[in-house]
């Protein structure tokens, strides 16, 4: 039919089609190199490029020449501070991983040196972490009993570390670090809280002085283990409770102190790459997550060859490093040196460290990870995220660490897929005294336009939601036709502002929707299709079938054109007058 009378102020632009290879190249660049890491290499001579490249892959080459005595003083203080954390934590976490304490100390010696050379964060302090230690003991413990076959167990742990390093380095080299983004905030809160709970439960062994203990990490096995042993001790109950009370008290008092001094109250964070990134933000410099992955991988590969087990950048230690005023990764070198001194001269002393002290250190560190405040925040802001969080927690505590992780990731992904599969559609109305159109649900003040149905969708149109949208739109039309008696409705406007992209299933859906609208004797009008969408609509000849003159830049213009046609076609001017009355601004 066309619309010869109404002049559109600016037609919707159809961007020129890009050559296939160029758009593929752009797609790969955006997916794998969104941060454009090689930006600085552009327009540089070859020699400069080589130097920049070396500095890129080995950042110490970049900061070492500019290293000053001021920096050294700061790094020395920070390094000694974190070393004082590294020694007890190293020993405790090694015991959590069922490894000899000396391996925990080694792990605070070689990996920090590697990271100091390859890492790009200035604040990150390298070390072992409780959750990874727990994972090692719970997964390797199934294969080899660390008490019966200690040598094999240690070898297995070092092999696992080696392959973890290879995996990290490979992810970084292949620029696949973004996979980590698929762990949501809620998953991490639940998972870390669950892991911390499990770690604390494991400490019941040390605190209660139990001899035989389960290798399972779930709540049921641990409680059964605890109660069966307390039951066996019935013959000398007095001794058991005296044995148990003193260390328990020390743990409780210690934990309360730690809690009050807020030493661990930095909230829950993904350890590793995210830690470096958070602190980088404070000092306003940029961290390339994939490059950090490579540094972590190399650190674990090198570490595993010299009897170090899995290390990363723990949040708590990095926070201490940051607050102690570190300037460069040099603080890691200082820490390594301090740990070496400890290893050389103080090792004999650790032989006498009571297990209960180690347990206390672990519990104190763990309490900060049970971030119930974050969980309450999730409940307040997003119930669905809260459910994800609780599922992860329950999975870890009642199942195992792996089950918890799988449950949480699955729920997160399912939720995302569901929200893609079930986008919301909105009925738009005119905000009085304006040309603005907004959802009638959100703005009850908005008015329906007689004879025109305006639908909006708030997500990309994909195969996963194309069927749903078709049904939904047909349903909305039915309702509208019913409510108006089927006579006055003449135009259906689809507002595509929020449809960022589409695929061929989406295009088929649009075609079917158009057929359906045609069959009812209505006219389909499109408002504000985005460049990706309009390109595909043109290529699939959908625009031809609608007519280019029925595509408008804004909903307001589309409505104005519809009203113009209604006005022109109807003998009475009532409809157009009504609309003009709305828009007398």
């Amino acid at each position: 039919m066309g619309n010869p009378y109404y002049e559109c102020p600016l037609p919707v632009t159809i961007p020129p089609a890009k050559p296939f290879l160029e758009s593929i190249k752009l797609g790969i660049k955006e997916t794998l190199f969104p941060d454009d890491p090689f930006r600085q290499f552009k327009n540089q001579p070859a020699s400069r490029k080589f130097i920049l490249g070396m500095q890129y892959f080995v950042p110490i080459l970049e900061w070492a020449p500019r290293y000053t005595f001021e920096f050294f003083k700061a790094d020395l203080i920070a390094g000694i501070t974190i070393a004082s954390l590294a020694v007890p934590q190293g020993i405790s976490y090694a015991s959590l991983a069922s490894l000899p304490p000396i391996i925990g100390l080694y792990s605070s010696f070689v990996p920090p040196l590697v990271y100091a050379m390859l890492g790009s964060s200035k604040d990150l302090a390298v070390g072992t972490v409780a959750v990874a230690s727990l994972l090692i003991s719970s997964m390797l413990g199934k294969e080899v009993n660390p008490n019966e076959n200690a040598r094999l167990y240690v070898q297995l742990a070092l092999t696992a570390t080696f392959f973890a390093g290879v995996f990290q380095a490979a992810l970084g080299l292949l620029r696949l670090g973004f996979i980590v983004d698929f762990l949501s905030h809620a998953t991490i809160v639940g998972f870390m809280g669950g892991a911390a709970t499990v770690v604390c439960l494991q400490q019941l062994k040390g605190i209660l002085g139990l001899v035989r203990f389960t290798h399972g990490t779930d709540l049921v096995s641990v409680l059964r283990s605890v109660f069966s042993q307390t039951h066996q001790s019935k013959r000398k109950p007095c001794f058991f409770w005296i044995n148990a009370m003193a260390p328990m008290m020390s743990v409780i008092v210690g934990s309360v102190l730690v809690y009050l001094t807020n030493a661990e109250k930095y909230g829950v964070q993904v350890e590793g790459v995210a830690v470096g990134r958070s602190f980088a933000m404070f000092k306003n410099y940029h961290i390339d997550g994939n490059k950090e992955m490579i540094a972590f991988g190399m650190m674990n590969i090198a570490g595993s060859c010299v009897s170090c087990y899995l290390t990363t950048g723990p949040f708590s230690r990095t926070a201490v490093n940051f607050n102690a005023g570190c300037k460069t990764a040099g603080s890691n070198i200082v820490m390594a040196a301090a740990v070496m001194v400890t290893l050389l001269f103080l090792t004999p002393l650790f032989h006498y460290t009571p297990i209960v002290v180690l347990s206390s250190i672990i519990i104190a560190a763990m309490l900060g990870l049970i971030d119930y405040e974050a969980a309450i925040g999730l409940w307040k802001v997003d119930k669905c995220d809260f459910i994800v969080c609780v599922s992860a927690y329950i999975g870890v505590v009642f199942g195992s660490v792996e089950i918890g992780l799988v449950i949480a990731v699955t729920i997160s992904l399912l939720r995302m897929l569901l929200s893609v599969a079930r986008p919301r559609t909105f009925l738009l109305g005119n905000i009085p005294n304006s040309m603005i159109f907004r959802s009638i649900d959100q703005y009850p003040i908005a008015n329906n336009i007689p004879g025109v149905l305006i639908l909006q969708i708030d997500a990309p149109v994909y195969f996963a939601n194309a069927n749903y949208l078709r049904e939904r739109w047909i349903y909305e039309e039915d309702e509208k036709l019913k409510s108006t008696g089927g006579s006055s409705l003449q135009y259906v406007i689809l507002d595509l502002s929020a449809v960022g992209s589409t695929d061929t299933s989406g295009i088929s859906m649009f075609k079917e929707v158009k057929k359906n609208i045609d069959r009812r004797g209505l006219k389909l009008v499109l408002a504000n299709p985005r460049s990706e969408v309009i390109k595909k609509l043109v290529k699939s000849k959908f625009i031809e079938s609608i007519g280019q003159e029925w595509i408008y830049l804004t909903v307001g213009e589309a409505v104005a054109a519809c009203n113009f046609m209604l006005h022109a076609s109807k003998s009475n001017n009532q409809v157009a007058d009504e609309f003009d009355a709305h828009n007398n601004a």
Copy 2:
């Protein structure tokens, strides 16, 4: 700081928070019952509800009382027409599934009767399909050799049919039919084309008169099988080629005829639910996919008990049924009766059906499924969908049917996840002589506003893209600051029109972006947050930290407010003048 001078025409509405249970209920309803199947039951007396309920679950009760002689005449003709298809196809597809021909005929007898009672499509013709038959022989053939142990093989096929029926019915009852939506159009084109190619390759056995043949379905095994046997036949090459040529010619001629008469040219479709739905659209009635799933399930459960194997609603037969003018599911009853007559009186004849005829029937049906035109269309409209299609095809042809399906579904999902993880961000500019703001990429005519950076994002903000967006936005600011010399930029406007929803990871990201913007001495302004987003922003106290007066209904208003402040704070009015010059409409 606030903005006391500029009056916003309408503040952004913050919808009242819904009670948790109500929003959960609404979420479940939208996910599982988007089509609101119980709509008609509302506000009805109990007795009426019972009748409606019976009619809902057994649709024959609804249409049988209104059945007229006119309907019967139409259904009779349609039924006999599809029976004439059902008999040869039933025998051919049974041989494809390595089952006795009689089972193929049984399958066109009982299942149509069950569907006629329970199904809600008026046009769907029930029967066996080639791809499912191929799947049965390729999967069960691995376990049991149909030639050596025919009895066990048939029992296995019927058991598989029974459990397929149980699975279908369960999916329907649990309202999980939407899982099928996750198969994209491109996947189906590639998968069906691949399956058709494999089926045709399998027919080389019948056409070339080969005795021993591979049980593998992949191209390599089949070609090896063909060439090894042709090689063995070298001693009597003349006879082999004479034997082979005649049937080959008949197949070629037959296929060309079929192609020219367009009998199969209905394009590629998912068989089953989607078929019924497509035809329902023509007659303007509605099909509930989940209810259809239950009907298919019951049909297969009942069928498997009386020696019928897997049936569904094939597209080609349904199209014939539709074109023959069927009025109700009664045409299926007529077809069943006609097949019964065939079974009773004509069975002895089928003993002499030459294999080559069966092969020809299968190949003729399959050629319509290799929809190369659709593949060309995919290439033109969406290269990524084309890659998905080709992967599915190659997976099926060179691997196996299962491998092809897994590859195609994985690629489709990965593509969707990637597009969620990597949304596009846009820089907006002012379209001259209007208050409209659009992407500068799409509308090169759009002008930058001095001192203001306007960013837009075209997808929901989730945990999967929160990290990426944060980096992206910070990068854009950097670029803008660099290009303007860092002095004049004062406001960053985020246009949230296309952000349909968000989660707690998204909210954290907004908070970090705000911190970063604050640190640079800039001011963050939001434009048009949608109801889901603003609710969560309010609950997480983000709106408080920005200030409610910095949230605007449109980008235009946000820019006007920023300009007003720039104007008020600067001694020279240059900036505001520039903007006024743009907007002198």
